[in-house]
């Protein structure tokens, strides 16, 4: 099977998933126990207001009609207005999503920079003290809540030794790198731990595999073997793993952005839930779902180029 048909097939596979996500997100409001309009209004609910909101959201129409309207609006990029700020949700998303994506990319970069050398050392010095130490540290980070690690970093590197700012997001690219360093590091430490553990096992398997053993018996320079056979493989598998964990990274923004008070989509989602701002919650859930599906798609496509054995 050639690449084009693989990609088309993979795209077609995505359609039912995205459709199901859309249906679920649409149904969210209807799954609320009790009358959605009353719950959205909370303490401010009066019979007139409930009536108005019900009409405004079209909740009095048949479900199928509502779903049709929902899809039509979605196609126009209209996801409704925030019940709290009255701002169109799409506008809100346009403002807040870039920060979250920037943070995820930043964290992923930091994580790779940490994980590849650590995994390499760990695998090459298997079962040595340094390997044991690295593995212990990864277990510790995987078992520790990232919001706590974030707060510790804030206390140590923001307050006690004020190397990094404790608030704000910066104006331009280089400032943003500086301002977002602590949140990105917090996410990266957790991700790097996952990557290091997986990569270490991967490298150990590669080192024992026939082609590496053969290259060595051939008398190839040890450094060349590492560079050409081991590290290349390691980087390919890191990228694939990263695709899988990108979902985790984007989801983690919900917590990290709250810790560091960053106005990204994660923070917005938590605010929207506490404020019962359902149009915003719906739009963000949909965005997260589609974002992750696209990342999986891209990972699969990239991987199919790297590993010719992959088929649907």
């Amino acid at each position: 099977m050639d690449k084009a048909s693989y990609i088309i097939g993979r795209l077609l596979q995505m359609i039912p998933t995205v459709f199901a996500i859309t249906v679920l997100v649409f149904l969210m409001v209807h799954l609320i126990p009790g009358d959605p309009a009353t719950i959205m209004l909370g303490l401010k609910a009066t019979p007139e207001k409930i009536e108005m909101l019900t009409q405004h959201l079209g909740l009095d129409k048949p479900l199928v009609v509502q779903f049709g309207i929902f899809l039509r609006n979605l196609a126009r990029g209209d996801m409704g207005d925030s019940l709290v700020s009255r701002m169109p949700v799409f506008e809100l998303l346009k403002r807040r999503l870039p920060l979250t994506l920037f943070l995820a990319g930043y964290a992923a970069t930091l994580a790779i920079l940490m994980a590849v050398p650590l995994a390499l050392i760990s695998a090459l010095k298997r079962d040595s003290l340094i390997d044991q130490t690295i593995r212990a540290i990864t277990v510790a980070f995987l078992s520790t809540p990232s919001f706590w690690v974030g707060i510790l970093l804030l206390i140590v590197l923001g307050v006690k030794i004020p190397l990094f700012p404790v608030g704000g997001i910066g104006e331009n690219f280089s400032q943003r790198l500086y301002y977002l360093f602590l949140p990105a590091l917090t996410m990266a430490l957790h991700l790097a731990s996952i990557l290091t553990r997986n990569l270490r096992d991967g490298i150990i398997a590669t080192l024992a595999s026939e082609h590496v053993v053969f290259a060595r018996t051939k008398g190839l320079n040890e450094r060349l073997v590492l560079l050409k056979h081991v590290i290349r493989n390691a980087i390919v598998s890191t990228l694939t793993l990263l695709g899988v964990y990108m979902s985790w990274l984007v989801g983690g923004s919900v917590i990290i952005e709250t810790v560091f008070a960053l106005p990204g989509v994660g923070w917005t989602m938590v605010q929207a839930i506490t404020g019962r701002d359902y149009p915003v919650v719906q739009a963000l859930t949909l965005t997260f779902g589609i974002l992750v599906s696209v990342v999986y798609l891209l990972t699969d496509i990239v991987y199919s180029f790297l590993d010719p054995r992959v088929t649907l």
Binding site: P16, T17, A20, I21, L24, M28, L31, I32, P33, I39, V139, A140, L142, S143, T144, P145, F147, W148, I151, L152, L154, I155, V159, S247, W248, V250, G251, G252, V254, I255, T258, V259, M269, V270, A272, I273, T274, Y278, V281, L284, T285, F288, G289, V292, S293, Y296
Partner: protein, 292 residues
């Protein structure tokens, strides 16, 4: 014969005696340390309230925001509540989240995965579609979306974590059943005319359950972390109930003046997390020695 040895190998039967225990602790220190730590944590959860020197909720403004000292080992919060006592009480709350949010998904997921893998067909297709949809959402996004529908709170948090949690077990067990159902011992049981229920319960399950148990150990860590994260976000356990995540959130406004408020509850989560991780790693090499 071949079937029996194969079965034994898969189950990884070990008969520990005293000598064996010493050898085991040398070969698998993670398992022993994990068991000891987790036992201690459970004991603390049971007896913690009896050991706590102060009431975890009663306020005492004259003792507010004290740093760790002889009376208050880990200091006090803005209401003058003893942090040490609150952490002890919270052990029970947080452990309960871990246990509940693993037990129900484990049972339901294992049964669903078993049926789905064994029979295939429509049930299996439905399960796989559910898996597809659930992996499309980041874990926390899915959980808090469900909480957005149900409303924040402890009970709803249990429900949300369970709704999301069972799918991983079902997926895992289904995969194992797909392989195992064509192995000789299952085919033999079928040939003997055993009922499907009997084959699943007494032949398949004992052979595949280990993977689910190993996964459950890492899932406990995940659930405890998730429970405290939701408490931290204000979507799970609600104040004034002592819960580690809620305590960390309470301390956030004082990170410059009273860093102990957030530090100690986080340390408690880290200790519990590491203990369960060690137990999980240890169990994994104990139950599935062929993996490594």
């Amino acid at each position: 014969m071949a079937t029996i040895t194969q079965t034994q190998k898969r189950v990884g039967i070990a008969r520990p005696d005293l000598q064996g225990l010493v050898r085991l602790s040398r070969r698998n220190p993670a398992l022993i340390i994990g068991i000891v730590m987790v036992t201690l944590i459970f004991l603390l959860a049971i007896f913690g309230p009896a050991l706590a020197p102060y009431d975890p909720i009663e306020t005492n403004y004259s003792a507010a925001l004290q740093p760790p000292n002889a009376d208050h080992w880990l200091g006090t919060d803005k209401f003058g509540r003893d942090i040490f006592s609150r952490i002890l009480y919270a052990t029970r709350v947080n452990l309960k989240i871990g246990v509940i949010c693993v037990t129900f998904p484990f049972m339901f997921g294992v049964i669903a995965g078993c049926i789905s893998g064994y029979y295939g067909g429509l049930v299996d297709t439905l399960l796989m579609r559910l898996v597809d949809i659930s992996v499309a959402f980041p874990f926390y996004v899915l959980v808090i979306s469900i909480l957005a529908i149900l409303g924040p709170g402890v009970r709803n948090m249990y429900i949300a974590l369970s709704i999301v949690g069972w799918i991983a077990y079902a997926k895992l067990v289904r995969g194992e059943v797909l392989i195992a159902k064509n192995l000789e011992y299952v085919l033999a049981a079928k040939a003997l005319g055993y009922s499907d229920l009997r084959i699943m319960a007494s032949h398949l399950l004992p052979n595949i359950i280990n993977s689910a148990i190993v996964f459950a150990m890492s899932d406990v860590v995940l659930c405890i972390l998730a429970g405290s994260s939701l408490g931290f976000l204000g979507l799970g356990v609600q104040a004034p109930t002592p819960e580690w995540g809620v305590m960390i959130a309470d301390g956030r406004e004082y990170i410059t003046s009273a860093p102990w408020l957030s530090f100690f509850p986080g340390l408690a989560i880290a200790i519990v997390g590491v203990s369960f991780s060690l137990l999980g790693d240890g169990l994994s090499s104990f139950l599935r020695p062929t993996d490594r």
